[in-house]
């Protein structure tokens, strides 16, 4: 049962009989009489209200939506009573806060379903957080004819909307693909390396490297002929996404994991276009998500679907177990992309000892989300402003001791990170350590460099 504003108004009207009653009876008689009246009216109204039990709610399957984009969530309310009273009142579509209900306000619809009929209601969502956003129920309030009271009931109506990673770095994709084409034999630029494959012979044009002349063909044709090369194709790329506690830290507005996903998606799109086979493994102490053997165009949808429900787990990553997984999934040489934050304490203890066993067999590229706020922390000198306001003439104002301690802590953290990066490089892994905005394009560049160098 729920009461309405009109019911409160009715109670308020009781002030009139309450004030008049002392003239005709005991002083409390007006209050009592009005209370009886209100109770009776409420009971009658409730008895005449439609029954929310006669309703059934069905949801339609929702398409996945990218974070930040709107989606409509329709809802069908069916009256199962063959005859009877119509249900009039309101209905609340009880989505969670992160589902971002935009209209109607609070997800509250007006409801008017005659017996035996059905109505379709549409809730507009704009989710504010990645992952599966579930909804468990709707709440129905069936008003009585007087509008004083309503029968309220919660009806089960399970559903969910899957919110995919936004993949904001896809704006970097055209530029990266352009660079990939210059690597390919299709453009007349030669990049040669151990792993490149012979592509074709063509006539020499001004600007080609003399070393790439194919002398035998030149002799045969009488004009200079050069060989062109193309990077190798069909290489294995395994992207390992670290979902352990260090990926939970927030840089800017999003956790590091989201930036790592963005980088993984750009890399996968690029590698897919380059003809490589891309797999995904999201892991901390156990495998959280895995995508194996998908080729474009099914690759990216499979990746975002797999990544959507991932959340950072507050556990330490188990790198030896990851090594075992890698060995099983990638028995031959390939590119291993580890997207893991290079946090000094965590990585030194677990990642470094096993890194050499990985680099011995595979090309390893480590992508780490750095925090631009740390650089800002090392540079900020709020004490200089504090001292400046004090305004001592004749003395240069400058940072105070608090600034020095803050800068020292930030510098110490950066130094530890730099030392760790150096250790990872010593283990013959390539490292990209950049902020959440720069990481995806820089990782793509690193991939292209490795590919150009034929190191895959």
């Amino acid at each position: 049962m729920a009461l309405t504003g009109r019911w409160v108004l009715l109670v308020a009207l009781g002030l009139v009989p309450a004030a008049l009653a002392p003239a005709v009876g005991p002083w409390w008689s007006g209050v009592l009489a009005w209370a009886v009246l209100v109770v009776v009216a409420t009971a009658v109204d409730l008895a005449l209200a439609g029954s929310p039990r006669s309703l059934e709610v069905r949801r339609e399957e929702l398409p996945p939506v990218r974070l930040g984009e709107p989606v409509e969530a329709p809802l069908v309310v069916v009256s199962t009573a063959a005859r009877g009273r119509r249900v009039r009142g309101s209905l609340r579509d009880a989505w969670g806060p992160s589902a971002g209900v935009t209209s109607p306000p609070g997800g509250r619809h007006r409801l008017d379903v005659p017996a035996g009929e059905r109505r379709r209601l549409v809730t507009h969502l704009r989710p504010v957080r990645r992952g599966d956003r579930p909804v468990a129920a709707v709440v129905v309030r069936a008003l009585g004819p007087l509008g004083l009271a309503a029968r309220q009931r919660t009806l089960p109506a399970p559903g969910r909307v899957r919110v995919l990673p936004p993949f904001t770095s896809r704006r970097h994709l055209p530029a990266a693909l352009e660079r990939l084409r210059t690597l390919d034999g299709s453009a007349s630029v030669q990049v040669r390396g151990q792993g490149t494959e012979f592509d074709s012979l063509r006539e020499w044009v001004d600007g080609d490297d003399a070393r790439s002349l194919d002398w035998r063909a030149t002799a045969r044709r009488g004009t200079p002929v050069v060989r062109t090369w193309r990077p190798e194709r069909d290489r294995r790329v395994l992207v390992v996404l670290d979902t352990s506690r260090t990926s939970a830290a927030r840089t800017g507005d999003a956790p590091r994991l989201d930036a790592a996903m963005d980088a993984a998606l750009l890399l996968a799109a690029l590698a897919g276009a380059a003809g490589d086979r891309v797999d995904l493994l999201a892991v901390d102490r156990e495998v959280r998500a895995s995508v194996v053997g998908r080729r474009p165009p099914a690759l990216l949808p499979a990746l975002v679907q797999a990544m959507a429900p991932l959340e950072p787990a507050l556990v330490e990553a188990d790198w030896p177990a990851v090594v075992a997984q890698v060995r099983r999934r990638m028995p031959h040489r390939g590119l291993l992309v580890l997207l893991t934050p290079l946090e000094a304490a965590a990585a030194e203890a677990s990642l470094l000892p096993v890194l050499s066993t990985l680099t011995a067999k595979h090309a390893v590229l480590v992508g780490s989300v750095a925090d631009p706020a740390l650089d800002a922390l090392a540079q900020e000198r709020p004490g200089a402003q504090r001292g400046g306001r004090r305004g001592r003439a004749g003395r240069a104002t400058g940072p105070d001791a608090a600034d020095a301690y803050t800068a020292a802590a930030a510098e110490r953290t950066r130094l530890e990170r730099a030392a760790l990066t150096a250790l990872v490089r010593q283990a013959e892994a390539a490292v990209v350590d950049a902020g959440p905005e720069q990481l995806p394009p820089e990782l793509a560049d690193a991939y292209l460099s490795l590919k150009a160098a034929g190191r895959l």
């Binding site: 049962m1 729920a2 009461l3 309405t4 504003g5 019911w7 409160v8 109670v11 308020a12 009781g14 002030l15 309450a18 004030a19 009653a21 002392p22 003239a23 002083w27 007006g30 209050v31 209370a35 009880a94 989505w95 992160s98 609070g106 468990a136 129920a137 709707v138 709440v139 309030r141 919660t154 939970a248 830290a249 927030r250 840089t251 590091r256 950072p312 925090d371 706020a373 922390l377 004490g383 001592r392 003439a393 004749g394 240069a396 400058g398 940072p399 105070d400 001791a401 608090a402 600034d403 020095a404 301690y405 803050t406 800068a407 020292a408 802590a409 110490r412 953290t413 950066r414 130094l415």
Partner: protein, 431 residues
């Protein structure tokens, strides 16, 4: 403006342009103002309290030395061996009188006193002197007296002689006296007294009315003698020396070895005489109040009912990634670990310098200093020895030294950057 006159702690807005040492002048003026304020705050309440102690300002108050007060009479009684105890509450008067017997009760403004209280006080006193009277107070004492004009206000009538007496000055007072005209020994001893309109009349033979009805003697129910001064002003300081006023008042009030003088107040009410506030309210207030309470409860019930249960949603733990660095800074600060802080700052600068000069990690500070001197394009401030001391000197001794170290390192890096920029420019201009 001299900076030395302005202390570092003084807020800037107090400093105004003006003659020399404006800060000192402003401070003096402010002190003066504060001092004046303190003097005012202390003296005003003190003076007010002293003035308030002087007297209550009531007419016929034994403490009041003003013309309409009665301090003269009280002091005369005192001097004559009849101590006067002034009280302002009926309860205090009852206590002062003690048991029935030996004291005179003098009542100023008995018409202000609750009749029930006056009646019980009369029972405890040996003699009663009423300064002024009305029907209810006369009735309360049980004396056989009444007012001549029933319902008339004795105070209004009594005001006439005082007004004329005051207006006529010293010379006109003889016209306003009247002879006793009765057998009461006190009245005959006084002979003449200030005239009032004939106010009192006896209701039986037991009472005597003198001076044309402005003075009467009777006996209360309790047997106490009751003397009523219907023209009470004759006991005032101003009129006490007129005719036989003093004799009449002194004899009336001095019959017993001591006197209790009650300055009656309307605040004195007999217990359970006044109606309770509830009885004074109109009848609709209680039911409307009850209905308002019901309404408040209704609003609570209306708003308290949720439209379904709250939706719970697990939120991820997100900690800002620089929190650890900030925490470390707080630890450094809390433990005053200047050595570690300085080491970190210097190591960071050395690390960046190594990268800039293309030297391997762990290069000796002396080598770095020599390279830095070249990199700063011969800036005189950064000689190799200075830079070496900056990069590998002893840890700072206090916080100020640490702040100084940070300042110097910042300046050094800025010089490095500008030196590098200068070198680049030079190279471009003269390849």
């Amino acid at each position: 403006m001299t900076t030395s006159a302005v202390p570092a702690a003084a807020p800037p807005e107090t400093v105004r342009p003006g003659p020399a040492r404006p800060g000192a002048a402003g401070r003096g003026r402010r002190r003066l103002l504060v001092g004046l304020l303190v003097v005012l705050l202390v003296t005003v309440p003190a003076v007010a309290a002293l003035l308030g102690l002087r007297s209550s300002g009531r007419a016929l108050d034994p403490d009041n030395p003003a013309p309409q007060g009665a301090r003269a009479l009280a002091q005369l009684l005192d001097a004559g061996g009849v101590p006067v105890q002034r009280v302002s509450r009926a309860a205090a008067a009852q206590e002062a009188l003690g048991g029935p017997g030996s004291a005179t009760l003098v009542v100023t403004d008995p018409q202000l006193l609750d009749p029930a209280l006056l009646s019980s006080l009369t029972g405890a006193a040996a003699d009663v002197v009423l300064l002024g009277a009305d029907e209810s107070s006369l009735e309360a004492t049980g004396v056989d007296l009444a007012l001549q004009a029933p319902g008339g206000d004795p105070l209004v009538a009594a005001a006439a002689p005082v007004a004329s007496g005051g207006g006529g000055g010293a010379g006109g007072q003889d016209d306003d006296v009247v002879a006793a005209g009765c057998d009461d020994p006190d009245a005959t001893a006084a002979g003449e007294a200030t005239r009032g309109a004939g106010l009192l009349r006896p209701t039986s033979g037991a009472a005597q009315v003198c001076f044309d009805g402005s003075y009467a003697v009777g006996t209360a129910d309790s047997g106490a003698g009751v003397r009523v001064l219907a023209v009470p002003e004759l006991a005032s300081n101003e009129l006490l020396d007129t005719a036989g006023n003093a004799a009449l008042a002194l004899r009336a009030a001095g019959r017993q070895p001591r006197a209790v003088w009650l300055v009656a107040s309307p605040l004195d009410v007999a217990p359970d005489a006044a109606p309770s506030p509830a009885e004074l309210l109109p009848g609709w207030v209680a039911p409307v109040g009850l209905q308002l309470a019901v309404l408040a409860a209704a609003v609570v019930v209306w708003r308290a009912r949720r439209f379904g249960a709250l939706v719970v949603e697990p939120l991820p733990v997100v900690v800002r990634s620089v929190e650890t660095a900030r925490g470390r800074a707080a630890l450094y600060r809390a433990s005053r670990d200047r050595a570690s802080a300085a080491r970190a700052l210097r190591a960071a600068v050395r690390w960046r310098l190594q990268a800039r000069l293309g030297l391997p990690p762990g290069t000796d500070a002396r080598v770095l200093a020599a390279g830095a001197a070249r990199a700063t394009a011969g800036d005189r401030r950064w000689s190799p020895s200075t830079v070496e001391h900056l990069l590998a000197g002893p840890p700072p001794a206090d916080d100020a030294a640490l702040a100084g170290l940070l300042r110097d390192l910042d300046a050094f890096e800025a010089a490095l950057a500008s030196g590098a920029a200068a070198t680049t420019t030079t190279t471009e201009e003269h390849p």
